[in-house]
Every structure is written in C-alpha cells, then in structure tokens.
C-alpha cells in the first residue's frame, strides 16, 4: 500500500529527500492541468507548477498536518497563478464561436485513430469546453477547475474554500448544468 502524502512528508523531513520526487509525480498532472485552466499557456503552466513545487519544498517543515497536503498545494498554486495573472494583466475573454454547419457528430475515436474531421472536431470541442468554462461565473468556474482538473475531492474543496460540503455539491451541480447547456451540441446522441 502506498504511503499517504502526509507520511511521505514526515519521511522527507527526516532526511529521505528523494521521496519528494514521488510526491511531485503524484501531483504533477493535476497541478499542471489546474494551472493551465488559469494561465491558458502550456509552457507557463509547467514553469509555474515547477515554482510551486519548489516553494512547497522549502516550506515543508511548516506544513500543518490538520490540513490535507492537496488542499495546501492547490491553495499555494492558486495564489501563485493569481500573482502571475496580475503581473501579466491577462484578460480572460470568451472564445465563443458559432458552429456554422450545426452538426453534432459522433465524437468517439475510430479504431485506427481519428480522421482529419475527427481531429478538427476534437479541437473544436476543446476550444468550446474552455470557452464554456470561461463563461461560468467565477466561483463555479473555480470549483469546476478544482474538481475536474485539480481532481480534489469534495471534502478537499470544502476545506480549501472554507465552504460547507453541501454548498460545494450544489455549486458543482449548477456549474455542470450550465456547462451542459452551453455544450449541448457536443453532448447529443
């Protein structure tokens, strides 16, 4: 059975610093994707993720075990991303684009791999979903990012946002309902 994050931190602080690489591998995907939702740039999200891991490493001895490591990591990441956005003065804009042909195609991949049409359709879906998430009100957008890209549990999100669990469930439900309405053309049978 794999050690928990908190157990690994204890070992790292005891001198097994190489274990930190394992902690990085556990969260690198989620952290990079979460930051990508905020920064919209793959390279920037990797660079900032690296900075966050370095910052976390330096502060490991101050980790409070009454919180989960994941909530601490993503809280630091969120603040770091906000700082980057402030510096860049990035304006989040909607990327709405009407679908001229109006087709709702089958989005399952063919056995031999996607055809050029399916590739284009997948790219269009990617653009559409990012635009739809952008269009959500701030708190709904944040919760969707924390749930689906940071992959935090409902309890972790409630702890991180200092929000009742019921409120988290309710807002995620409403956020997904809004996304469903905006992405209806991609979700039909």
């Amino acid at each position: 059975m794999q050690p928990s994050d908190e157990e690994m931190i204890v070992s790292i602080l005891d001198g097994e610093t190489d274990l930190y690489a394992e902690l990085v591998r556990r969260y690198q995907g989620r952290l990079v994707n979460y930051l990508y939702r905020i920064l919209r740039n793959e390279e920037d999200s990797h660079d900032l993720a690296q900075d966050v891991f370095i910052k976390i490493y330096g502060a490991l001895d101050r980790f409070d075990p009454k919180y989960r490591f994941s909530t601490w990591l993503f809280r630091v990441a969120q603040n770091a991303a906000i700082d980057v956005l402030r510096k860049r003065r990035l304006k989040l804009v909607s990327m709405h684009r009407d679908d001229a042909d109006g087709e709702a195609g089958d989005w399952e991949f063919a056995g031999d791999g996607p055809t050029p049409y399916q590739d284009a359709r997948n790219i269009e879906r990617g653009v559409a979903i990012r635009a739809a998430i952008d269009d959500l009100p701030g708190e709904y957008r944040e919760l969707i990012s924390l749930r689906h890209y940071a992959e935090l549990s409902y309890d972790d999100i409630a702890q991180m946002k200092d929000m009742p669990l019921g409120t988290v469930k309710n807002k995620l439900f409403r956020g997904r309902q809004m996304l469903k309405e905006r992405l209806a053309e991609f979700l039909t049978d």
Binding site: G15, Y20, V24, N33, F53, R62, Q78, A184, L187
Partner: protein, 192 residues
C-alpha cells in the same frame, strides 16, 4: 414529477456520475428505479456522462522529465538537516588540519623541543593574539569614550545634542523591535 423532485433526481445523477460515491444506498436505489421507467431521465444521464467524459478528456500532457527537473532545481531547504549537518565539518576539518600542520612545522623548526612544548607555544600564541585583540578593542572604546566626554562637556548645547541623539536612537531601536514583533509569521496557507 414536480420540479423539485426532478431537480433532486438530477442532483443524484450528477453526484453519482462524479465518482463522489457519496450517494446514499437508498437514494441510489430510488434513482435506479426511476431511471428504469423514465426515458427523459436516461437521456439526461447520457448527456451528463458525455459532459463528464468531455471534461476529463480535455487535459494537457505533462512534459517528460518534469519531476526530475523539479528535483534538480530544488535549493537546500532550511529544514534539510542532511545539508546543515555537513556545513560545519569542512571548516572544522580545515582548522584541525592547519593546527596539525602548524604543530608539525614548529616541531620541525625546533628540533630539540618536544611536540607538547610546541603545542603549548601555539596555544600561548593564540591566547596572546586574543588578548591583544581585545586589548585593542577596549583601548578603542576608551578612546572614543574619552573623546565624546570631552566634546559633551564643552557646552550645554553639545550635551543637549548628545542627549537628543541618544533618545532618537532608543526610539528607533524600540520601533524596530515593535515592527518585528508585529510581523505575521509565514504559514503555509498564506504563502503564494
């Protein structure tokens, strides 16, 4: 089915699909029973499943070697005892080495003298140097004190200026202490 009931069923569907595994067994049983008889609800489930898959599929790949790159970039942390524990070893080794070399050289220079005597001579030298250094320091402070006393005693104005300077320095000192005491300690939750 009324709106509130429909909303509840949609919430159950959403929760069930989100791998939260927090839907109570009774609620799940009721949901499954309703799904069996409600085509509209089944269509809703398919839409939600498609949405979840779409959200989960829209991800970027982490570049290869990312973890290794992070590890290479890690600075020595203040809490890292393995880094701290070796910090004093090199200076101590150098000091011992220099002492040994000094003893050997001095022992070789005075071929008739015992090694013990040579070591004592080295220690005596260190003691003399320390005393001389502290003596110079004391002399310097006494000289400065004497000069200041002479200047202050020449006039009342000088005395007042000196007193004002002392008060200002004290106020500065206390304000710095208070500022340091008020600064919040960095906690993990506030970092970033």
């Amino acid at each position: 089915m009324n709106t509130a009931e429909h909303t509840t069923l949609l919430e159950w569907l959403d929760l069930d699909l989100d791998h939260a595994k927090s839907l109570a067994p009774n609620d799940r049983a009721a949901l499954e029973a309703r799904l069996a008889n409600d085509a509209e609800l089944r269509a809703e489930r398919r839409s939600l499943e498609a949405l979840h898959s779409m959200l989960d599929a829209d991800r970027v790949d982490v570049r290869e070697g990312f973890a290794e790159q992070v590890m290479e970039s890690l600075p020595a942390a203040a809490w890292d005892r393995s880094a701290r524990s070796t910090a004093w070893r090199l200076p101590l080794a150098m000091m011992l080495g220099l002492t040994l070399v000094s003893v050997m050289l001095l022992g070789g220079a005075s071929a008739d003298g015992p090694i013990v005597g040579t070591s004592l001579a080295v220690l005596d030298f260190l003691q003399t140097t320390t005393l001389a250094g502290s003596g110079i320091l004391v002399a310097a402070w006494r000289g400065a004190g004497f000069g200041l006393e002479t200047w202050v005693a020449t006039s009342g104005l000088n005395l007042m200026a000196f007193a004002t300077l002392v008060v200002c320095l004290n106020l500065l000192f206390f304000s710095l202490l208070r500022r340091r005491a008020k600064a919040p300690a960095a906690t993990p939750s506030s970092e970033g």
